[in-house]
Amino acid sequence: MIHVRDLSRTSKVQLALKMGLFGVILMQYLIFVGIIETFENRDLIRDVISIGTWMTLLIFAGTGYLAVWALERASNPSHEEVKIPIRRSWAVGSGAIAGVLVGASIALLVIVNSFIELRNVFVSISPELIEIVTFGRGETLAGLLIPIALATILAALTGSLYVAREDVRRTVVLSVVWVTLAALISDLIRVSLSRPGFPVFLSRTFTSSNGLTVLGTVTVVVLVIAWGIFGPRIQSRRAERIAARSEKGQRNAKYRQWGLVILLLLTLPAIVGVFPSEVLNNIGLYIIMGFGLNIVVGMAGLLDLGYVAFFAVGAYSMAVLTTAQPDIGGLGLSFWAALPFVIIITGFAGLLVGVPVLRMRGDYLAIVTLGFGEIARFLALSDWLSPFIGGAQGIIHIPNISVGPVVLRGPQVLYYLFVLAGAVALFISWRIQDSRTGRAWMAMREDEHVADSMGVNTVYYKLLAFGMGAMIASLSGALFAAKLGSIYPHSFSVLVSITALSLLIVGGIGSLPGVIAGAIVLVGLPELLREFGEYRLLIYGALLVTMMILRPEGIIPSVERARELRDDDRAQDQVFSLDDQAAAPSNPSGD
């Protein structure tokens, strides 16, 4: 066996230990933070394995995979060269070494916990948790040995999987991924399958009220294997067919695809049912806000952390204008009559925030807008303004939206309003992006002073960005107020701003499809996976940090922003002027 860089035996073992330590940290973190225990209540495969146990096993396996991956990287330092395969014995060995560490750390936890009651300080270390991580054996010798043995074997297996044939490796990894995903959204699958028109046995055989059934799991695995065998052939045939089409035919196919998407969008609430429609509406709420914030942050480059203030102003002005609550002095307008006023009021609020921060840049602007958001919340809560906006009691009796004589009630109907408002926001963003205004914003984002000397009226465009962002947020706020029928100050915390910003960053700053993808991932998924609720913000935080370090341009990047974020020379705020000249344009991902 040829090695490009001959690693000594000790350094290989050290590497495996290092990766094992990484697995230990991850494992213990999940245990101590309580994620493992929270997910124990839900089964992945009904009555076979719970999600908590599944996660534990995944970490065992993942540690082995990671160890061999690191070994391969260390033996093949350069990316250009042909990969030198890792010897199977070393793959198995590294995996096992890393796995032992993870298993041993669990055993250690159990031992320590039997001497000192850790629960007095760490709320998650409960007797149930000990049962989970010892696979039901508790504080016995078997309970100590089983995690160690399981971790070692699993990690060694995945280690050898890493060096196995490409198709085997892919099938196994994909099966695990798809089974996990299918199990996590099994509720949604179940609801969608169990409706009139569908045979009842479909939902019963594949999904249960608590995870997939065994048959469902087998089906997913079979589908993955089948796709592995037939997938490439189907794809190549389809590519041939598309290539054979005339230009007009291709265009028609594109129209047909868009038609399908729109049809799906319009029939979605009828397909998925009531509760998922509610989730869809929440996603819609954040998609609208995301588009608005994208104008401010993505296009104009003004990091606004107090975006919730505009959402709140929109919701509160809608509430005050329409409520029938007598002590607020509501005007009792209809939704549609109030909407123009709401938009104008919120747009004005945008200008009000915009003027004082005109001369601030970058990070100061961010903190000050954060402050504005907090001020908005404190004012909404205060007794001082409570005669006008209800104080901590909020505003109730906000009427339903009606179109003519028809009153829109229920999430499945309101959905269409969200689609409409989202479409308006999308259309505005899409048309403005490459217009004169959009280009002015881009210039301003790149370098304010240069833009100014090139004749871009920065004051006007900054205020325009704030105003437009606020107006789009007001749409979201107005719908929010009308949807709930009542609003309370605590709905408008800084976390709304953070969520909107996170979805923008995860999706890709400045990218319109990114906003939608970000909202689905960050708002939709947690609502479907109830257990995630508690850890949603923990995951947002971790996502923000990892995205910024590994992939600052987001999952669906906009071309322009990707270049800016990757390449310092073009960035607006050069922080370390000397470093920039000295170092080559840095690449945050390090690859």
Partner: protein
């Protein structure tokens, strides 16, 4: 070139200037009217004002200790370590468990000073550890990224820390045990001043003096100052820039940890994973108020902010006839932050920074 740009900006910004001047005058008028109304109504006695003064100083010295972390990191990296409030929380929350243990075992009653020293030690080491890890994992890979990238990272780190600590210790509010020796008050010049306030103020002052000596007299302090002047040149002069940055984070964390214990001594209630956000924001205000990047500035800014917060609701807001003025205490700090950033971004003691740095 630069002057021409400024001229252009000047002519175009004129109506903005007008608005800002109106805002400035409005703020001054409100403060004067409010204070005069309150003082003429003679609702409060001199003893009330003195007690407000000392509680403001005590609160302010806690802000100052946290603000030092912001200002030192900003001085060296020009980044706002938004997660600094969470470092303070980490110290206060972990030390609570030690404090609780000492109170239960009776050690606190027999050796109160030793107990407080132990709390401080725990709080400071945990906070230092969190700060150093934060720098190593979240900030170091992004040191050359555009300015907004580390800020977003810091927000993410802040969320992550809050919810990690919630997961570890639960989200319920806890209270530090009462320390018998710090109860009661002493009479100075006929005014009663609570002992815990005096203790917090004195301890904070000692820490700040220690920091000043460290930065001005020691070799590490000297290299810190060199790095904050110019990282590049400092590196060429043989200073280990990375080590200096880590040291800065560590010292900032240490002071924030100490502030956490002082917070627990001064206001025992409300110890929770989410206790860091507002003090963090306020300490940032204090740092900006004093002039970000300046160490004496952070101390002065913290004390001034504490006094503002203490006097503001009673003196200004009540005079303006605002109901429930104490509910708006937190708003005062934020409004102050906004006003300082608009009208005097260099703060009280800060130097006028160049465009790139400001």
């Amino acid at each position: 070139m630069a002057t021409r740009i400024r001229q252009r900006l000047g002519s175009r910004f004129s109506w903005v200037n007008l608005l800002l001047w109106a805002l400035r005058i409005g703020v001054v008028v409100l403060i004067i009217v409010g204070s005069v109304n309150t003082l003429t109504s003679e609702k409060y006695t001199a003893a009330n004002w003195v007690s407000l003064f000392f509680s403001g100083l005590a609160q302010g010295s806690i802000y100052a200790l946290i603000a030092l972390g912001y200002t030192m990191v900003y001085g060296i990296l020009l980044m706002i370590n938004f997660a600094h409030g969470e470092i303070f929380m980490a110290g206060a929350l972990t030390a609570y468990f030690v404090a609780d243990a000492t109170a239960r075992s009776g050690f606190l009653d027999s050796n109160p000073w030793a107990s407080i020293a132990i709390w401080l030690l725990v709080s400071m080491s945990v906070a230092t550890l969190v700060a150093v890890l934060l720098e190593r994992i979240a900030y170091r890979p992004l040191r050359n990224a555009p300015r907004l990238v580390p800020l977003i990272t810091a927000i993410g780190a802040s969320l992550f820390l809050q919810y990690t600590f919630r997961g570890l210790f639960g989200s319920n509010f806890r209270s530090y045990p009462e320390v018998a020796v710090l109860q009661g008050s002493v009479t100075i010049l006929g005014f009663n001043i609570p002992i815990d306030q005096i203790f917090v103020i004195l301890a904070a002052i000692i820490m700040m003096l220690g920091l000043n000596i460290f930065v001005e007299r020691t070799k590490t302090g000297k290299s810190m100052r060199a790095v904050s002047e110019d990282k590049e040149i400092a590196g060429l002069m043989g200073i280990n820039v990375n080590r200096v940055i880590v040291t800065t984070f560590a010292i900032g964390g240490m002071l924030a940890g100490a502030a956490g214990v002082f917070r627990g001594l001064y206001i025992p209630q409300g110890i929770s994973p989410f206790m860091g956000f507002l003090p963090g924001l306020k300490a940032f205000t204090a740092a900006v108020l004093g002039g970000i990047g300046s160490i004496p500035g952070a101390m002065v800014g913290g004390l001034v902010l504490g006094l503002f917060e203490s006097f503001g609701p009673n003196l200004i807001l009540e005079g303006l006839g605002i109901e429930g003025a104490n509910q708006l205490r937190d708003v005062i700090a934020i409004v102050l932050l906004v006003l300082v950033l608009i009208f005097r971004p260099q703060g009280i003691m800060g130097e006028k920074l160049s465009e790139e740095k400001a």
